[in-house]
């Protein structure tokens, strides 16, 4: 089981779907950011799995995974800063109460 690419890809797909659900369903902006992190991790898992099982991708996959991690760190920094800036103005972390641009 641990020696087949499919098992890792299925785990990665389920993790991505869980992240999608969290992003669509949660009301709290920080929960949505956590769900985005889960989705990024799922993609990273599939990249590393491809690198471990396809010889032509062996080293490249790890490089790409490290790049994704760095970009995820940048995304988390800016995303959380935006959430805190909105929180300072609106006094709530719930995204469905950010409705000042609604008709």
């Amino acid at each position: 089981m641990s020696q087949s690419l499919d098992a890792y890809l299925v785990v990665s797909g389920i993790l991505f779907a869980i992240g999608t659900f969290g992003f669509l369903a949660r009301r709290n902006a920080i929960s949505m950011l956590m769900s985005i992190e889960l989705m990024l991790n799922a993609v990273n898992l599939s990249i590393v799995a491809f690198g471990a099982f396809i010889p032509a991708l062996n080293g490249t996959a790890s490089v790409i995974a490290l790049m994704v991690m760095a970009v995820a760190a940048a995304e988390a920094t800016v995303g959380l800063a935006i959430v805190m800036a909105i929180y300072r103005n609106r006094r709530t972390p719930l995204v469905d109460e950010y409705d000042s641009m609604r008709q």
Partner: protein, 177 residues
């Protein structure tokens, strides 16, 4: 005492058992992240998910990626998220509803997505070998600092921009930085 080749009672190899346990912990804690009511607990479950994913990277023969996962995700991103939770959640405002009204359609869509990805991933012939190949840290470093030096530098500039942008966005208005 030498460790036996297979797990004594189950008869499966150690890697299979480790993979099953780590995958179960990963998916279970990910589910907790998206369903728990208390957002601090969501953040702690997120740390568990990151940790078990680092274990899966070790199983995949990528120890450097696993180390970076622990350092970057657990050490930096999870701590950052927990700090943001403490700064933004109002203490006296109980969150009545954790989920939006679209939670049920979102759950159905997520299940459909998971089934589709699983079916596609298992039906496709990826040309994969059956014995996984480990990624040596030496070869990885060589690749990172020769073939991929330009993306590496771009990522470092991106991180600098993210730091500056984060400070600019998060500072208070009406006061000198």
């Amino acid at each position: 005492m030498p460790i036996p080749d297979t797990v004594p009672i189950l008869g499966a190899s150690w890697n299979d058992v480790l993979f099953a346990v780590l995958a179960a912990v990963l998916l279970g804690s990910a589910l907790l992240v998206v369903t728990l009511r208390d957002i601090i607990r969501c953040g702690l479950a997120l740390i568990v998910a990151f940790g078990s994913l680092a274990g899966i990277y070790v199983l995949l023969g990528a120890p450097l990626v696993a180390a970076a996962q622990v350092l970057v995700y657990i050490g930096a991103i999870a701590v950052l998220i927990l700090f943001a939770v403490m700064l933004t959640q109002a203490k006296n405002a109980p969150v009545r509803l954790v989920f939006q009204a679209q939670a049920l359609p979102a759950a159905i869509a997520a299940i459909v997505l998971a089934v589709m990805i699983a079916l596609t991933a298992s039906a496709t012939d990826w040309g994969a070998v059956t014995k996984q190949i480990a990624t040596g840290t030496d070869a990885l470093a060589r690749l990172l600092f020769t073939s991929y030096i330009l993306p590496f530098e771009i990522v470092s500039v991106l991180l600098l921009m993210a730091v500056v942008g984060g400070i600019f966005l998060a500072r208070r208005e009406g006061r000198d930085a």
